[in-house]
């Protein structure tokens, strides 16, 4: 029983980390109506930015994470403006196709740039807090605790921003009805830039936070990217609440599932499969996920 609780706690922590990545993706989908297939790579860039800020420039690790979020935000705005604008100015015929291919291509590009510029070797960014804490049978690295706490804070902050500020309302308006928002004076293009920037900045922040825990490499974004897709489909595309709950669910399924699997020696081998299997099942049975709205095609 104690083992179960310990695994569940681990799943919770992992889930919070996933949530940071998935929320950004969900935000992007709700405002821009596209799935950002380069999301995993934005997470990876955030990790590297944070690493270099803290090791090359000696900046405090926590500050480095914020700086890297800002850097990824700028990157996101640039991507949105250069690559994604044509979707909203009517220059593209087959929008869904274009969005998929170009964000996917961007992901490939970023991954290889990182490989060439940063090198393929694994790195670790400096700890936020060192040491470990014991909770019953479960001993936790303080970094994980700190990062879960930070993730929680960021998530709450985001919910506050979306729910209560004017900008948040504007974003929600655009996600509900683009044209109507334009009529009441909200600039949908600017909201696009903002949403995309914030979305990838969240992923970048997740990367920066995870750096000391799971280490950094140019290919680190592939699996989390896929998992964030699983989560937003599970939770319902465009629903931030769904993304949070979906993340926690996935974290638990992975932690508990890999241990209490039918054949424990193989559980770990299949761990990454749980998520994608779940994705496939949800897409088949209830594509709108737990909390999502019906998918509106872009044209």
């Amino acid at each position: 029983m104690e083992l179960f609780v310990a695994q569940a706690l681990n799943g919770l922590i992992i889930g919070l980390l996933y949530a940071l990545i998935a929320i950004g993706l969900s935000l992007i989908f709700s405002v821009l109506k596209i799935v950002n297939f380069a999301h995993g790579e934005c997470y990876m860039m955030g990790a590297f930015f944070s690493y270099y800020f803290s090791t090359l420039f000696g900046i405090n690790p926590i500050l480095s994470v914020f700086l890297s979020m800002a850097a990824v935000f700028l990157l996101g705005v640039a991507i949105q403006y250069l690559l994604l604008r044509p979707l909203y100015t009517g220059a593209v015929e087959r929008k869904d196709e274009y969005a998929i291919l170009i964000t996917f291509g961007l992901g490939v590009f970023l991954q290889n740039v990182a490989m060439s510029v940063f090198g393929p070797w694994t790195k670790k960014s400096p700890d936020f807090i060192s040491g470990i804490t014991g909770i019953g049978i479960f001993t936790v690295d303080n970094n994980r605790l700190a990062v879960s706490g930070a993730a929680l804070v960021i998530i709450v902050a985001l919910l506050v921003i979306i729910g209560m500020t004017f900008v948040g309302k504007a974003l929600r308006a655009v996600s509900q009805d683009r044209d109507a928002s334009a009529i009441v004076g909200i600039n949908p293009h600017r909201m696009n830039l903002l949403a995309f920037g914030i979305g990838v900045a969240l992923a970048g922040g997740a990367g920066g936070l995870i750096g000391p825990i799971f280490l950094i490499s140019p290919v680190m974004g592939i699996l989390p990217g896929i998992k964030s897709f699983v989560i937003i489909v599970l939770g319902g595309m465009g629903s931030i609440k769904g993304a949070i709950i979906g993340s926690l669910l996935l974290g638990e399924i992975e932690s508990l599932g890999s241990v209490f699997f039918l054949d424990p020696t193989r559980g770990l081998a299949y761990k990454n499969a749980f998520g994608v299997l779940l994705l496939a099942i949800v897409l088949l049975l209830k594509p709108t996920g737990l909390f999502g709205e019906k998918h509106v095609r872009m044209e």
């Binding site: 070797w121 694994t122 049978i137 799971f214 490499s217 241990v259 559980g267 770990l268 990454n272």
Partner: protein, 399 residues
């Protein structure tokens, strides 16, 4: 239609660029194969490449002609290994040395045999590489069975009862796992207790081992030894996460990262103080005997790269020299002559006197260097170089 012709024409134009390369045969080409990029172990490959370049540079000329070293990136993928061997054979390579990944080496030996190009495998340990007994294949690195049976003996000698492992699902990882499975369960340790061995297999890309390590931690009796049969990022993560969970290294439980990555400075960067008192293996340690040759090699290597070389670099270095010497001895560049020379060669390398066995039993001894050694070391302080680590267990190998 015209468009088909045009479009294929353009493509063929590009293709023809590649097809019409001409090679001048004024130099002796020696090929090198190593992983230089993902998904291969690029750190190790980089080391090997530097060592090969050093050797080739020092040798300068063979049979009066300049030596040309051509190193190919095999990326840890078997088909890249095959492609690299073919590229090298086309480039007129007289011999090829190297490789770090067992799965890739397995593909390379096929190509070596087909193209009749002698191959000295310098750092891939799967038994079957020499076990297939291909005439054109030689090996300087130890074979899994040769070394890990000795490690199993060590496990018994330290009185371990409960051994657990996390294994990467590669040829090497599963090979080591098999040796342990054949030599540990049910056997008695030095205190007469029966040993149990539990292992879990995982993909190299897994990053969270916590659930499995938690499971191990909850075992009763507690594990005495955690085998981290992994390389690269996973290897570091297991050490880190096991320590964070309080599983190892503790008074009751030792941590044994088996892969080569524990020898690099990146180990300390990523696991920090959790690496203290961890045990690992290495093919070279100063206490095995520091010859002038080793000291010179280390110094040259450190001058060049600022890093301490591991045995992977030394093996690569010696392999080039062995191949060069064989070509000199053969006074010829065709595969069969070099092959014959390799069978009879005795070369005093950095790692010792290298020669190749003709024994056919056990099957992996054919064309294997019987003097290949590895030892177990234990780190006693943070940021310690592996050469300063304490020698835990000499495993001198006899055929």
């Amino acid at each position: 239609m015209k468009k088909t012709l045009f479009v294929i024409g353009v493509a063929l134009l590009v293709a023809l660029m590649g097809g019409s390369s001409v090679w001048c045969q004024e130099s002796i080409v020696i090929g090198g194969v190593a992983p230089l990029s993902a998904p291969g172990a690029a750190e190790s490959g980089a080391e090997m490449k530097v060592a090969m370049e050093m050797a080739a540079g020092e040798i300068g000329k063979i049979l009066g002609k300049p030596v040309k070293l051509q190193v190919e990136d095999t990326r840890g993928l078997p088909e890249e290994g095959t492609a690299a061997m073919n590229r090298l054979a086309d480039a007129g390579a007289v011999g090829v040395v190297g490789e770090f990944h067992s799965a890739v080496a397995k593909a390379e030996i096929e190509a070596a045999n087909e193209r009749k190009v002698p191959l000295i495998v310098s750092e891939a340990w799967a038994d079957v590489i020499t076990g297939k007994q291909y005439p054109y294949v030689f090996r300087i690195a130890p074979a899994n069975s040769l070394f890990y049976t000795k490690v199993a003996d060590w496990v018994k000698s330290i009185g371990a009862k409960n051994v657990v492992a996390i294994v990467e699902n590669t040829d090497w990882g599963l090979g080591v796992d098999t040796v342990f499975k054949e030599n540990l369960p049910g056997e008695k340790n030095i205190n007469g207790q029966a040993i149990s061995y539990t292992s879990i297999v995982a993909e190299r890309t897994v990053s969270d081992f916590t659930p499995q390590l938690l499971m191990y931690k909850s075992m009763r009796p507690r594990p005495d030894l955690v085998m981290d049969i992994f390389t690269g990022t996973g290897e570091y993560l297991i050490v880190k996460q096991a320590a964070e969970l309080g599983l190892a290294t503790t008074r009751e439980t030792a941590m044994f990262p088996v892969g080569t990555s524990a020898l690099y400075p990146e180990y300390w960067e990523t696991v920090g103080e959790y690496g203290v008192f961890s045990i690992t293996k290495t093919g070279y340690h100063p206490l095995l005997g520091v010859t002038p040759a080793i000291m010179e090699f280390n110094k040259k290597f450190e001058d060049k790269t600022g890093k301490t070389p591991t045995f992977a670099a030394m093996e690569a270095y010696d392999s080039i020299y062995v191949m060069a010497k064989a070509i000199e001895n053969a006074q010829a560049t065709d595969g069969d002559a070099v092959l014959a020379a390799l069978e009879k060669i005795r070369y005093d390398g950095v790692l010792g006197t290298i020669w190749f066995s003709q024994e056919r039993k056990p099957d992996y001894m054919f064309h294997q260097w019987p003097g290949a050694k590895a030892v177990l070391i234990q780190y006693t302080a943070k940021d310690q170089k592996y050469t300063d680590a304490e020698l835990l267990w000499p495993a001198i190998l006899k055929p």
